[in-house]
Each structure stands twice: as C-alpha cells, then as structure tokens.
Symmetry: C2
C-alpha cells in the first residue's frame, strides 16, 4: 500500500517546499520510489527540482479538475532516479475558485490518486500557505500530515489554528488522518528565540516532534536556484544530512522499500 504524506502549514515561509523537495529526493536516493505532488500555484517544488514552470504544461490543475490522469501527467525528475513529480503551474491559482461549487470538491486529489493504476511506495504533497481547498484536498487525500515548524514566534502561534483544521478534516472528511510529526526548521543554535520555540514545541507535542532538527543552512536556500535538491547540490552539507535522517526515519517507521 502507498503511504501519502502531505507537508502543510498555513504560515508562510516555514520550509514546506524545502522539506517536500529534500525529503522526497532523500527517499528516492535511499532507493524508495517516490511521487512528489506540487499542489502550490507558486510551483516552487517544480522549479526547485529544475523543471521550467514558465512552459505551459498539464499538471496538478488537470488532475484536480479531472481533465487528465496522474500517471500521464507525472514527470521524471532530472538526475534523480526513483523520483517523479506531478508538476504545478500558475493555473492552479484558479483551481480553488473553480472547485468551490464542484461536487466532492474536497476529494478531488484523493480520487485522482485512487484512479492511478499504480503508485510508488510513498507520495509527498507540497501545499500552499493557506487553509483553502488546495490544502484541504491534500489533507483529505493524505494518511498523515508532516508539519514544518520554523523556530520563530509567529510560526508557533499559527500551530493551534492548523491543528484545529486537521481535527476538522479528521472528523468530517478523512477519519484516518494522523500527524506524521512536527519538524523544527531553520533552527539557528546561536539564537535564543529558536531554543525557546523548540522547548515550547517539545512541551506541546512531545514525541510527535521529530528528533532530527533542520538547521538554518544557507546551502538549502541556494540549491533551488540550481534546480537541484540539496543531496545533488551539496551532499556534505548539514541540511542534506538532516533531510537524509528524516527520510530514513520515515523508511523505518513505515517499512518503505
């Protein structure tokens, strides 16, 4: 059976895309076939892996609106064996409004994934910074949600709103939705606030906080400008090591092969 994990947090700029891209690529490098779904109209995960988003192409929008099927739309990611991507395109900006009056509007992604003749062992979904229909589709399709938490004040404040939404989705749309974990991101050990947020998150979430903490590491913010994951841009960096650790934790936890 395929494991579907969505990377969500309505707070902007907390490391959702950086986590989706580098976790998916990390899993692929460990030999686990992975599909990355880019559900953000900004299409950062798509461009961050070297796929030109200015070229009009069919992608996530067409899968959501039922105009084409995921297995025909997914693309191989350049230089990364075992990794395919359902690319995003700015046409996704219109999908939320177009879906508002559609039948079963929250289940479009779940149904599109269910129609796929075959899926790899794991699917990772990158979400936009909002709680609109795109993120709701991801939370409804997923088995679990991985929550990147930037070690800053505003990011911690937003968590309770996200958990309220997760509970609502679990009650009304997806009873099996669980929290894969809270991943601390952009952690700068020299910064007091980061330690305060990290302590507070562990007090709140206990064991749900991943042991691995993603450090603030400039190589992570450079790699998308080369269209590569951190593992192909700078394998020896602290950012690459941290995301490999998270990938390995998921492989062990879910027995991925």
């Amino acid at each position: 059976a395929t494991r579907i994990v969505c990377i969500a947090n309505q707070k902007g700029g907390v490391g959702k895309t950086t986590t989706a891209v580098n976790l998916a690529a990390g899993l692929a490098i460990e030999g686990v076939r992975t599909l990355l779904v880019d559900l953000d109209p900004q299409a950062n995960a798509t461009s961050g892996l070297g796929i030109d988003t200015k070229v009009p192409r069919r992608g996530a929008y067409h899968a959501l609106l039922g105009m084409d099927e995921i297995h025909r739309l997914a693309l191989p990611v350049p230089e990364v064996e075992n990794l395919t991507i359902l690319p995003a395109h700015p046409d996704l900006f219109g999908a939320e409004v177009e879906l508002v009056d559609a039948i079963a509007r929250e289940f479009r992604l779940k149904e599109a994934l269910a129609r796929a003749p075959s899926l790899p062992p794991i699917v990772i979904i990158d979400c936009p910074p909002s709680l609109g229909l795109l993120t709701i589709n991801a939370l409804t399709a997923a088995h679990s949600v991985l929550i990147p938490l930037q070690c800053e004040y505003y990011a911690l404040e937003g968590i309770s709103q996200l958990l309220t939404t997760v509970q609502l989705i679990r009650r009304r749309l997806n009873p099996s939705l669980s929290v894969e974990g809270v991943l601390l991101t952009m952690f700068d050990a020299r910064n007091n606030l980061a330690h305060q947020v990290s302590d507070e998150a562990r007090r709140h979430f206990g064991a749900e906080v991943f042991e691995t903490v993603i450090p603030r590491n400039v190589r992570l913010s450079e790699s998308p400008s080369f269209g590569r994951s951190i593992h192909h841009y700078d394998r020896a960096s602290r950012g690459a090591a941290a995301y490999r650790e998270v990938a390995r934790a998921l492989i062990v936890r879910h027995g991925l092969q």
Copy 2:
C-alpha cells in the same frame, strides 16, 4: 486625502507582517496618525502589537461583510500613540468562501474605508500569503502596493506572478493602483545569494526598489513575542533604524502630516 498602502506578496514568510507592523508604528512615532488593517486570518499583525487574538472580538471580518463599521471596530494600539488597528481574528479564514458569491465582493474593503466618517493620513494593510479575495480586496482598496522581497531564490521567482495580478487588478478593478516600491527584506550581507537577488531586483525594478534595505536582524523576529513593534522593543537596533528610514521616505513622498 488619506493614502492607502497595502503590503502584499503571495510568497510566504517574506516579511509582509514585519513590514506592516514596523512601518505603521514608525509612521506613528514620526507623528503621523496611522490605521493598520490586519487582513490576514493568521492575525499576526494584531498579536505582534500586543492584542490578544484568542479573545473573540469583532474586527476586519465584520468590516468586510458589512456587519459593522471600521470606526467602531478599530482599536488603539497599546503604548503607541497615533496608531490604531482594525484587528484580525481567525474568523477571517471563512471570509474568502463567504464572499465568493457576494455582490461587489472585491470592493468590500474599499467601500468600508469609504464609509468611515474620517480616516487618518495613512492606512497600511497587511495581507495573507495568497492571491485570494482578501488580498484582492486590499489591492482594490489601495492607492499603492508595497512589495516586500525576501532576498532568496523562491521569493524572486514569485514576483512576476504578483505583478501579473497587480496589472489585472489595475485593468479591471482599480485603475489608479501603483507600485509604492519593492522593499528588500532579510538581507544578509555575508550571503552571496542575497547580493545576487538584490542585484537582480534592481536590474528588474530600477528606481522602484527602495534605497533602504531591511537587514536580517534577530531583534525584528523577537519583538512580536513581546507584543511590541521594533521601535518599542529595541529602538537602537538596525531593524528599527531601517524601518524608520522607510517611514520617513513615505512621509516625504506623500507629504504626510
């Protein structure tokens, strides 16, 4: 006449709220009466200025849906003379869906501001990280849009999408919408990428880029946890000085008193 400036960028975490809060407070400290409108359901601008967002209270949602008037909803900001805020509350998460079928849904904020018996010399609007109806309402109500640009790769990529939306709004909803300027944020002089993004932005936008650059400064990320603007948390910091400079530039440019 009142000048209405919205702080917008659909890319998440680029410094919209930090700019809205510290620019509004900076203007107020210079003696210019200012209204800050928090149009983000995350309500970060509201909590960043020390107003409890967990307490149910009427605010921006009620103004948008025409249930109450801005002059009754706006609150004084603790310890900051000359500054009032139209607070946000998580109920704003529902406003976008509720407005979809409403008459003149894009003009709700513009009309609410027009109904106010009196407005201060300047209104600053903080927007969520999306191009949905909340941001569209802000762009339709505003005379100009100030674009915070984080000095990172993904942030620069998103600018063309934002400018496309601004042109669309100018053509269809608000012919007088101009670009107040592009403000470089979280600039870390030690980081190559920051210089590359800054050079690229100046090549693209020329004189529209503010001369003042907001440095990456940990004091800016600490101040919201104390419910204060940077000017009241650490007046001597580089972050405070930079936002005071931007405030003064706006005062001179628009003859604010």
